[in-house]
Point group: C2
Chain length 281, copies 2
């Protein structure tokens, strides 16, 4: 599964993974910026709370986006895979100018939506310019290779992480969330050790990576985005160690981005962006 | 304070920081290897339990090294700075073929021994070939710039870490311990952000960096040694952020070494060492 083909003359919509626990009361900068990408006061947002087991998660985000100024917000939950084949739901997705996944358990989203017309509709919408975002579990689901679960700890072990196919809006990144708060570097690095082509994105809480149509990551929020790039990997022992043994990885590149800094997924180049400007200002 | 000058025709002794909780019962590989560097069954080891508040720490390591085959082991505690000026103690240090610091609080060692003839004697001994090791707090104390305390979390904040002068056997590294177990990447990276000249060494529990006279790090034990190299640092925002704000750092190099892999502090080159050999074998 690769990302849906972008129609001629159009550009992919923004992909917005958020590290969880985003601010909802003091300006809600991340959610506001997401809303602006969906058209601001003209936005029509579908919230998918399927990852969550709490009955009011959808309502909560409906209310939040409404208060931030969205024209229309609707929560759409999926209880069965059959729900993901209903024409009126698919049509609703096709009308949306933004789609947002709440937190919870990312495997609930992937087992419910994976391979259904709803998943296809979301992918097609993103390919033709609609912004798709999500927080916590809703962030993990966005990429092709999704961290399903894993163990904590700074240094990687062969069994630190289990991957599953995600929604596949991009295959460039592996996303992890609650990054600083839950000590997840090891499992992100382990995911890259399996196949270093992807770039690891570790999102702190209240922090988002806004991945633009040109594959440049911009940071929003109060924490940092840790980019782990295995492009220059000299050596990995992943193929030769036992499950609970530590993995040797030589030549990883790490960038810790805060608001203002950027990273381009195509060129793999980090930039201090506006931070460098304010430095000399 | 730089490391003591190495006398003509001699070479510096090994420096052996251990990440804490080293195995003491199933082969005690790290302690055995340290003992071997001190002369094996001819070894004369002084154990310094000053970091610890537990009265039996010194006795425990005395017993351990004796059982592993040391010729002579003596625990030498320091309760006051005056103790660090006693000629018979200084003489005892000058006889030792190995010196070992136990765990506890590294600030107890630095406040008690710092700047005294005992510290000078240990530094001089290491410069003329005597191995000096330590576990946990005893690992942190070995380098010039010591992490005194800090906060947990994968991504660095300006106030993640506080440094203090250590024993100064090497000024090439900043050492952190219990690395995987206590989520200390952020504070190690913050320490490097202050001044990127040093190389960060994060030691997992039951894992040691054996730093040879030629400044090559070899790994011993069941975990990994995370080397953070800021030599290629493109940008740091450390000088412009508030205390509790995240720090932007672009261009860090990270190597995760397991037993068999090496890193040279002079050339800043990592090697898979014997792991690469067993790969093709």
């Amino acid at each position: 599964m690769s990302p849906s083909r972008i129609p001629d003359g159009e550009e992919r919509g923004w992909i917005v993974p958020i590290g969880g626990a985003e601010d909802k009361e003091n300006g809600a900068k991340i959610l506001q910026r997401f809303l602006d990408l969906c058209g601001g006061d003209g936005a029509d947002i579908v919230v998918i709370p399927t990852a969550s087991r709490m009955p009011d998660t959808g309502d909560r985000y409906e209310k939040l986006f409404s208060e931030l100024g969205a024209n229309r917000v609707e929560s759409m939950d999926f209880d069965t895979r059959r729900d993901c084949f209903e024409p009126n739901r698919i049509q609703r997705i096709e009308q949306a100018s933004g789609i947002f996944f709440t937190g919870g358990n990312q495997l609930r989203i992937s087992t419910m939506l994976g391979g259904t017309p709803i998943a296809q509709a979301i992918r097609a919408q993103n390919a033709r310019g609609v912004a798709v975002g999500g927080t916590s579990a809703g962030a993990s689901i966005l990429s092709e290779h999704m961290i399903a679960f894993g163990t904590e700890g700074s240094s990687p072990r062969a069994d630190s992480v289990r991957l599953a196919p995600g929604l596949g809006l991009t295959n460039r990144v592996v996303i992890d969330q609650h990054f600083r708060q839950r000590d997840r570097l090891g499992r992100l690095v382990a995911a890259l050790a399996y196949n270093p082509f992807a770039i690891g994105i570790g999102l702190d809480e209240d922090t988002a990576a806004f991945i633009g149509p040109d594959n440049t990551i911009e940071v929003e929020g109060s924490g940092s985005v840790t980019v782990v790039d295995a492009d220059g990997l000299q050596f990995s022992s992943m193929h030769m160690v036992g499950e609970d043994e530590p993995v040797c990885l030589l030549g990883l590149g790490v960038h810790i981005l805060t608001k203002g800094a950027t990273f381009n997924l195509n060129t793999r180049k980090a930039s201090a962006g506006s931070l460098a400007v304010s430095k000399s200002g």
